[in-house]
Symmetry: C2
Subunit: 418 residues, 2 copies
């Protein structure tokens, strides 16, 4: 069971989470609990570090920032003991959670079972583990980077062959799309790892991508559910192998990302190595390039260009557009690339349909494009993968597009098998 920052924000919420843990113990389970820092605490610690040092030592950063989770782990254990549940806290080095020495973005090396198993054998029912942290080969404290507590939970579930890994958060599951966009959005009972990965990376902020990848690799059954209100063993959304989902719809959900931008380099020399010359500098500038489209330039092939030319279009988050433009202008200045014009469009959004059923069903793309065309929504860029189709559209159409596609693929109905 993993409880994020908002689920352990204060002592009342810690007590509430403890009741959910106790319920599982009463059902007969031994439980490993992964906790985040009380919300706000990590930010306070990070603020202190940033004010103390401009170019900080990541090892000291980790030593400071990891303390928030340690506090929650101790408090949660105390609360459980108070309720008569035999529990103890575990800091990363006590387990030990062995990681690489990549401070701030460490990866798991091993999670030996011996210490926790010994305590379970003694009769302890709950091990409360500080999330987000581990210990390096040098014996220093490491942190795992964004979403580290989700990842810790999945890693423990894998190491201990857990029946489930329940991620308690502030939403009650994974939806067919954002309920703020359409009231027809429906909570999914089950979703496959692959679909969840596409939804996570497309802006549905329920689960961190890395934790879903890890769950898929080790076949950990991951359940997302709310830490507020009553929950039982069927609450939330189960993220699992597609084999477990008997009949799935062709499309499982509509994801979207509102604040995208599009850059087109007009009339680029079409020569080997041109893509590397463009996207190398962008990566170095920290620009997260998403969709890429290359097509023949609309411009005439004139005297200025002795060889073949093309237009190159890519998208990135709108707040990275300054960096992207600067990287391109510098590359042009250095002579490594050439273009006639750099056209920026900061008023675009991305909408995607996701579903493993697409693998065996043709015509999903055609149905999607026709549906958008019927509403007068112009498609600017298209990108596809095996289980996803994404398009860039004008931002003003984003709600309309999501609602239309949600209807088109019958996501609001309750006929899904579970």
């Amino acid at each position: 069971m993993k409880f994020g920052g908002t689920s352990v924000a204060d002592l009342d919420r810690i007590a509430n989470a403890a009741e959910k843990i106790q319920a599982e113990v009463k059902r007969g389970y031994n439980v490993i609990v992964i906790v985040s820092a009380m919300s706000g605490k990590t930010n306070e610690l990070v603020g202190w570090v940033n004010k103390t040092s401009d170019f900080y030592d990541a090892r000291e950063y980790d030593a400071v920032v990891s303390s928030g989770e340690n506090v929650t782990a101790g408090l949660m254990s105390l609360r459980l003991q108070e309720m008569g549940v035999s529990a103890r806290s575990w800091q990363g080095w006590q387990v030990p959670i062995n990681t690489t020495a990549a401070h701030g973005a460490a990866r798991f090396v091993s999670i030996p079972r011996a210490n926790l198993d010994a305590k379970f054998d003694e009769g302890f029912r709950v091990a409360v583990v500080a999330g987000f942290q581990g210990v390096s080969p040098e014996g220093r404290i490491t942190t795992l980077g964004r979403g580290g507590s989700d990842t810790t939970a999945v890693a423990f579930a894998a190491a201990f062959d857990a029946e489930r890994c329940d991620i308690y958060t502030d939403v009650d599951g994974v939806y067919t799309t954002d309920p703020r966009i359409t009231s027809k959005a429906r909570k999914l009972d089950k979703i496959s790892y692959e679909e969840m990965l596409e939804l996570a990376s497309l802006g549905a902020k329920v689960l961190q991508t890395r934790s879903v990848e890890l769950a898929m690799r080790y076949n950990v059954r991951l359940r997302v559910l709310s830490s507020f209100g009553d929950t039982d063993q069927n609450s939330g959304t189960l993220v699992c192998d597609e084999e477990e989902i008997m009949e799935s719809k062709v499309v499982s959900g509509i994801a979207f990302s509102r604040d995208e931008a599009k850059i087109t380099l007009v009339t680029v020399d079409d020569r080997p190595g041109i893509a590397a010359a463009i996207f190398g500098p962008l990566a170095e500038a920290g620009v997260n390039v998403d969709m890429i489209v290359q097509n023949i330039s609309e411009k005439d092939h004139d005297e200025a260009h002795s060889g073949a030319v093309t237009d190159m279009t890519f998208s990135c988050p709108v707040d990275q557009i300054g960096r992207a433009r600067k990287a391109m202008e510098e590359a042009k200045g250095a002579g490594s690339i050439n273009y006639d014009e750099l056209v920026v469009d900061t008023d675009v959004s991305k909408v995607s349909v996701v579903g493993i059923g697409m693998r065996s069903h043709a015509g999903v793309a055609a149905k999607m494009f026709k549906s958008l065309a019927n509403e007068g929504v112009n498609i600017k860029v298209i990108s596809t993968s095996e289980i996803k189709i994404s398009v860039l559209i004008d931002r003003k159409y984003i709600e309309l597009a999501v609602q239309t596609l949600h209807d088109t693929f019958d996501l609001g109905e309750t006929s899904e098998a579970s």
Copy 2:
């Protein structure tokens, strides 16, 4: 170098302390720094624990409460690095600081030098150690109880054969008496361990008794000085072996404790075991009995008492008087002791003259009593040790008594050799 909570209360003060550390590094020293939690942080953590659990697991208490020192250690290391000083933080388990498993009041077992020495050999100049904590034989985090950071500093100084142990605090040294009572109070350049122990236990709150005991046992030269304002290698007060203090005065300081209370059991049976029958229940009730005086009862030896009788008087902190009275009444009710009357005086204070010179100088007590008598101060109880004479007096006379004794023993003069 040890910095207490007020000396690392915020980022500015951490920066200020870092400058003092840098100054020692520039003088050629390798430095071990012991830090407390930023002031207020430990109280916040303790508050959370108390709100979470009534009968708390001391192991979890320690895991939570120790995190404050870890944060300071990391921030201090970062600050030092920012100033170009090669430093790293050490949590108790990383050193390791091996302690007993007596959580909340653990005692040192060993502090192996290997890990820190290896880093010093690599060229690190400063080890910043989280104070107040250690690790138990079971690998759980322990805390050392009150004054634990001072004790940590002395223990490291002993383990690493340090030239000095500098305790930075919010006063600039040890004074002949409290400067708020008399403007003639003077900072001592040096004081012996024995005198410091008497002053510490008598209410001069500069150093925790246990840290002075430890310093005396391992002959650690302990310096108390202010973390505010300029300091150099001669600032503050050096607590050291009396051999180092060439010529000392007969009396070094006047200590006092304002809020004392006195209880007299009138007409107690004077039989073997009566003291145990009285002070056993008081100890069990958590009453810190200080002075004890037994004298023949003023009452007549009447028919109600078949054997010899006595009066028994003792003192304790005024806020423990309720507990003391209850313990005595219960003992009487149970028949284990007998007395005619229980007289409580809650308006008394204790004043003490302290000095190793007393050992070789007679007449100190007489001089003290005469001086107080001249001012009309009545002495209610007297207690003496080898280097201290304490008296209980009415509280209204405490300032007068301290001022008079300070003058009587010439403590305001500057003739002390250093």
